[in-house]
Symmetry: C2
Subunit: 202 residues, 2 copies
């Protein structure tokens, strides 16, 4: 099958949204935990977390400032910190529910029944039910003028994980801790490991 | 378990690379097809393809200019076009092999046995064995000064897909066409669909 550019442009808006969101493949499923300076907590599902580098350890995510995760972006700019919590099979329905349009004073923790968790003096809330989560210090945002999105870049600080995931070479087995992936806008998946492959040589 | 920032910094380099690469969750697995102005084809596996928007249809990817995919980035800048080809279960080993350090005159198509495919007058090669692939027109790159990577932004043009993937609302069933996901640097996975969830409301 073939969709030309003109045919894609002519698709009904939601159909086009589903189609284009499916093209980028499996997406990482995470909850972003933040808190504003008044102590209001926020939790939002984000499918655009992306590895940027290991030396230094950097993570990126794409945010739409004028859409649902606005509170998240504002809280990050205000507080300078956030948490990234991988979503697992036990909490994906609650995680999805955080995408509803709650007011700033309503916490998605209360609305979904997920449990806020704090470590040491880090002010952003973690999700207790997540089995792999980390503290992130905001570094910078790059505005993408072409469509008004923001690439938010952060430095990975403390990492908290279920030890079932950790392998001897540092690799984390996400299947063992039932981390889920997203396809399109709304489909959730667990995984079947095929294999790990050795470093490729000519 | 808890890794502090200081413990992460002190990890052996490859251990840290595996650990940090695992934090971002499931990654999209794609082959990027390009051609230079002399007609040399290149194919490189990229795990950083990311949805940027559907209106207009935009896709991003992170490239390390001084690392393996340099030929890909140079070819994109030269030719202005590239292809993104989802990797499926039948070709993931060949796809992984494209990450070896081939010279610019050596085509990864020849080296791996994957088949170049051309549509109409689009000059970048597709991967015939891929069941979901699309033509991309280069729009811009944003240099991320913090670690020297580049965010490459492209506009999605023609889309070619196995009709087994297409559902009535535009959603593509990646499990039906055996698209794979990557975790860490080198682990490949197929998926088990849990469910699609409805648009979340308060």
């Amino acid at each position: 099958m073939h969709f030309t550019k003109a045919q894609i442009d002519a698709l009904e808006k939601h159909t086009r949204t589903h189609l284009i969101n499916s093209l980028s493949g499996y997406k990482s499923a995470n909850l972003i935990g933040t808190q504003d300076l008044q102590g209001n907590t926020n939790l939002s599902i984000v499918s655009s977390v992306i590895h940027l580098g290991a030396h230094p350890p950097l993570v990126g995510m794409i945010m739409r400032p004028h859409s649902v995760p606005r509170h998240t972006f504002e809280n990050i700019l205000q507080s300078g910190v956030y948490t990234i919590n991988q979503i697992n099979k036990s909490i994906y329905k609650q995680a999805h529910q955080t995408s509803a349009r709650y007011d700033k004073e309503e916490s998605e923790f209360d609305a979904t029944g997920l449990t806020p968790q704090y470590f040491d003096d880090f002010t952003a809330p973690f999700v207790q039910e997540s089995r792999l989560k980390y503290a992130v210090k905001f570094v910078e945002n790059q505005h993408l003028a072409i469509n008004g999105t923001e690439l938010v870049i952060g430095e990975i600080m403390d990492v908290y994980l279920d030890k079932a995931a950790l392998q001897s070479d540092g690799f984390l087995d996400l299947q063992a801790i039932e981390t889920v992936a997203i396809t399109g806008l709304d489909s959730y998946h667990t995984s079947n490991k095929l294999t790990r492959l050795p470093y490729a040589k000519k």
